[in-house]
Symmetry: C2
Subunit: 151 residues, 2 copies
Amino acid sequence: MSVALDPTVEGIEALLRGIALVLKKRGRDILADFDVTPPQFEALLTLREYGLLTMGELCQKLYLACSTATDLVDRMERNGLIQRERDTLDRRVIRLKATPEGERVMDQVLEARLKYLAVVIEDMSPEQLRHLAESLQALRQRMSTEAETSS
Amino acid sequence: MSVALDPTVEGIEALLRGIALVLKKRGRDILADFDVTPPQFEALLTLREYGLLTMGELCQKLYLACSTATDLVDRMERNGLIQRERDTLDRRVIRLKATPEGERVMDQVLEARLKYLAVVIEDMSPEQLRHLAESLQALRQRMSTEAETSS
């Protein structure tokens, strides 16, 4: 079924939302293969992005109540994905980090996502790929510009 | 700063990930304006997508432990975003739904997202908008095809 092209804000927003939804569902399927839930993967990515975090910092970054984030981290510690470590400067402070296994799971999930995208776009011509990259880049750059001017 | 175009799978994946990240951060800013957290908004969208859900169904859809989802729903009930309702057929079953206020918040958040995108793409030429919509649509259609053949 071919859909009429709608190059308006509404049309483009619907396309972006549709793509984001498929990527999210696909992402969940991939995570299920690795026995990781979306909130757990979010916690791992957050630790990768920000480095060692205290529980207070992690619950803030995840927008979760600290009791919820503690449950999540306890479970992930039991599953060998996260470890607790004493701060080297202040031994009273406990920091969280991904274990080597947690890092490995993240890498494999990201690799599986790349493979999925490769399958999706495998029949695009070099010209279509160039147009897609150009369009996404134009959108990305405008988003950066907007972020700079609005902050 | 202009970035060299990279129309490979890796380049396109990086662009999609970058766009998704900006949309997520922006989405969080918008939610903060409405005093709603991302997990709360996710719960509202899930109730909109699936209709009346029991707590057990909701925690499954949100990939949260039921104790966590219960905390979330209790807080949202206190904030007037969600209400509990007895099932009309089986009075022992309690179902969750968004309140009119919850619906209003969702509409306003989605409207604010649309406005944000309108600002981002406002200086694109009609031709650029057409290319963007075409590229996104090509990607979206291939994702649907992949979903059909892989399931």
